[in-house]
């Protein structure tokens, strides 16, 4: 693996490889001193052209636990504000000696453009509406561990509820869940679905009530308040009434059903119930697993191949 820009380029085998590797990383993270020298001497640069506290911290924690050197480049302090082009920025930073760029950008496709301008590995930490592959990996890892499904998701039914159209999380998760064998149902009004679902391995429902009592995983997406002004939904109240997880709906969940959310949550909108009171909520585990999964990604991209077990012991 040279880059991680999309779930697609990982393939099914790559997905399994990274999830298996995440198990090792989770083990490291449970140690009293959760740090190994696996990536000593490697430099990982976080290029965040869009605000994101949790993803950036998760990647930096992952890199540090593998002993990589980390640098952070955030747009507010950079010369991008002085008119420097994206390419100049990348080439300048790359010239300092960089092994991997972790890139977050509000425009879809920027990790592809960057990978044409540098020899360093490029990890997509979220590009526009397009993909967020490490989120999908941590979500798969969370389902895999919480439901004890190390072999894959055959027979599992996962519903992704909410604003699919504008969601990079959905675009990565659909392909990752499906590649691992799950049945995926998208739950949204047509205004929040992509214009075409041709070729997507999904079926579609138009109310959360159609799926809430039968799915194994209920994956709730963040509903952004500004969508109301684009004539996509009449009101947040109406959205909640058809797509929100309310206490009444929570009562209809099966006992084993997982409730997931990529954060940050809109309480009272898509999450009209306190997740702390949901027995199936694994939202905190998602965040914890994020570090292990990102360690696996960085190790897979930058590791010497000499094996993790030896270095970790």
């Amino acid at each position: 693996m040279k880059h991680l820009r999309s779930i697609d380029e990982l393939g099914v085998a790559g997905l399994h490889r990274l999830l298996d590797l995440s198990d090792h990383m989770a083990e490291i993270n449970r140690r009293p001193v959760p740090k190994v020298p696996a990536l000593r001497g490697k430099t990982v640069v976080s290029l965040f052209f869009e605000d994101s506290t949790r993803t950036r911290l998760s990647f930096e924690t992952a890199a540090k636990r593998l002993s990589a050197d980390t640098m952070t480049f955030s747009v507010s302090t950079s010369s991008v504000n002085k008119g420097e082009s994206l390419r100049d920025t990348i080439e300048t930073v790359a010239a300092m000696g960089v092994d991997a760029f972790v890139v977050r950008h509000k425009s879809s496709g920027v990790p592809w453009q960057i990978s044409r301008w540098t020899d360093a590995a490029v990890v997509n930490a979220g590009d526009g509406w397009h993909e967020h592959p490490t989120q999908a990996l941590l979500d798969c890892y969370t389902v895999r561990t919480a439901l004890n499904r190390p072999e894959g998701f055959d027979g599992l039914h996962i519903a992704i509820v909410g604003d699919i159209k504008h969601s990079r999380v959905a675009r990565s998760n659909v392909w990752a869940f499906a590649a691992l064998g799950a049945r995926v149902t998208l739950v949204a009004p047509h205004t929040l679905l992509p214009p075409s679902l041709e070729g997507w391995p999904v079926d579609v429902a138009h109310s959360i009530d159609d799926v809430v009592d039968r799915v194994d995983v209920l994956y709730m997406l963040r509903m952004q308040r500004e969508r109301m002004h684009e004539a996509l939904v009449p009101s947040l109240r109406e959205y909640t009434s058809r797509f929100g997880l309310t206490p009444a709906r929570a009562d209809r969940l099966q006992a084993h059903t997982l409730v997931m959310h990529p954060g940050p949550m809109n309480r009272g909108v898509e999450m009209a119930v306190d997740p702390a009171e949901l027995p199936g909520s694994v939202i905190t585990q998602q965040v914890t697993n994020g570090v292990s999964v990102r360690m696996a990604v960085l190790f897979d991209l930058l590791g010497s191949g000499s094996g993790l077990a030896g270095e970790a012991s």
Binding site: S107, W112, Q113, R171, P194, P195, S196
Partner: protein, 430 residues
């Protein structure tokens, strides 16, 4: 422009291809006009045309020369050179410069820059509305008196149906032609690429076909209502082509053009997020590409026009949603038309030469049959020469061709403009 007009030039050994068909023969040019056509002619200067077609010069209804205002992308001179190398003896310069073509002064300046370059005739278009803002009509009569024939707000469509109706009514008495960039902008806010399966997967805002088709339909009906002719710029969707086909069948005064990228490329090329493939209207689906080809084949679409749109590398390296739309076209149009359309050569030349010449109102001097007395605007091209497009090999000041590395067939060998050989053996002479 008169440096060789005292001497005679003979185009020798080629096949003359024009409205009348094909005939083997030489062409002698003196004083800017054709003085003799026949076998075994001699002259002071001989242009070898063996293996080549000798045709009326090409006319491009749609180029962006960027001057004034965006000279880092192209100038009238560099764009004219690219045009001459592409076989064009006349180009219609789009009005979206800075300042735009909404005053006589700007239009005269662009024409004068074209004359100074001396590589082809630069025909400035005029704006339909002041500043292309879609609010107040530009001084169309003044601009028409200054020689402008085609009026358009290209880059944007005239959104207000009342304003478009008034513009058509006003234009009718002036004998000018309104050309529409068909895009209902409310439906394309933030749009980056064609709306369909590809943009859905890539998470990129879509430009729905219906945004073009609604305006094509509206303007067909406004043309019917007013009796004024309308020309449709860069048709890109199957339904647009069909709307124009039906309007023509009804005898309405509509004409249309299509760009080579809309009959050769599809939206899937954007899968690597390279803004080189971003253009407006966007690359669409295979069914649209096939419909545009069909429209060119059956005469629904009157002309191939490049929508040559130079941009410097730093702009085409911006994120896809921020990079400007547009691609180069002048130097690859003939080759793509020959290689990809599968049409008889005469039909290809009609689409590149005399049909657009008539739309541009320059049929008196461009696209004329190669007869004695006709102005010597002539293109000599080898229809079989295979070559590979390379962005660094282009004369345009910019490099944004989507065809780099593509193997094509057909190349301009000589271009004669106003009697002067401005391109000889594929080399610009000035």
């Amino acid at each position: 422009m008169t440096d060789v007009n005292n001497t005679s030039v003979v185009i020798k050994g080629g096949t003359i291809l024009d409205q009348r068909g094909e005939q083997v023969g030489d062409v002698r040019i003196e004083g800017g006009v054709i003085t003799e056509v026949g076998p075994s002619l001699t002259g002071d200067r001989v242009l070898d045309a063996s293996g080549c077609m000798v045709s009326p010069g090409f006319v491009d209804l749609h180029v962006h020369l960027r001057e004034p205002g965006r000279e880092e992308a192209e100038t009238v001179e560099t764009g004219s050179r690219a045009a001459a190398l592409g076989g064009f003896t006349a180009v219609v310069a789009m009005p979206n410069t800075e300042p735009p073509h909404d005053s006589v002064a700007v239009v005269q300046m662009v024409r004068r820059l074209g004359e100074q370059a001396g590589l082809c005739e630069v025909l400035p278009s005029g704006c339909i509305t002041i500043g292309r803002a879609g609010e107040v009509l530009a001084p169309m009569a003044e601009l028409a008196a200054a020689g402008v024939h085609i009026f358009t707000d290209d880059g944007t469509g005239v959104q207000d149906p009342l304003l478009m109706r008034r513009a058509l009514e006003y234009a009718k008495s002036l004998g000018i032609l309104l050309a529409q960039h068909c895009e209902v902008s409310r439906l394309t806010e933030g749009a980056v690429m064609h709306e369909g399966g590809c943009c859905s997967r890539l998470g990129v805002p879509g430009w729905p076909s219906v945004a073009e088709e609604l305006m094509v339909f509206r303007d067909i009906e406004l043309s019917r209502l007013t009796g004024a002719p309308v020309h449709f710029l860069h048709l890109s969707t199957a339904k647009s082509v069909d709307l124009v086909r039906r309007a023509k069948a009804e005898g309405l005064l509509v004409t249309a053009e299509a760009a080579p990228h809309h009959f050769t490329l599809t939206d899937e090329l954007l899968s690597g997020f390279d803004p080189i493939f971003k253009v407006n209207p966007p690359l669409r689906e295979l069914t649209d590409v096939m419909a545009v080809r069909e429209g060119l084949a059956d005469g629904t679409i009157d002309a191939i026009a490049t929508d040559h749109a130079p941009h410097p590398p730093e702009l085409k390296e911006m994120p896809l949603d921020q990079a400007p739309p547009g691609m180069l076209g002048l130097e690859t149009s003939l080759a793509l038309s020959i290689s990809e359309l599968g049409l008889p050569l005469q039909q290809v030349v009609a689409l590149l030469s005399w049909k657009p010449a008539a739309i541009a109102g320059v049929a008196d001097r461009h696209g004329r049959a190669l007869e004695v007395g006709a102005p010597a605007n002539i293109t000599v091209f080898d229809p079989n020469l295979a070559w590979t497009v390379s962005s660094s090999g282009l004369a345009s000041k910019s490099r944004n061709t989507p065809y780099a590395g593509r193997s094509v067939r057909g190349k301009v060998r000589h271009t004669v403009f106003g009697g002067n050989p401005v391109v000889i053996d594929g080399q610009a002479q000035r």
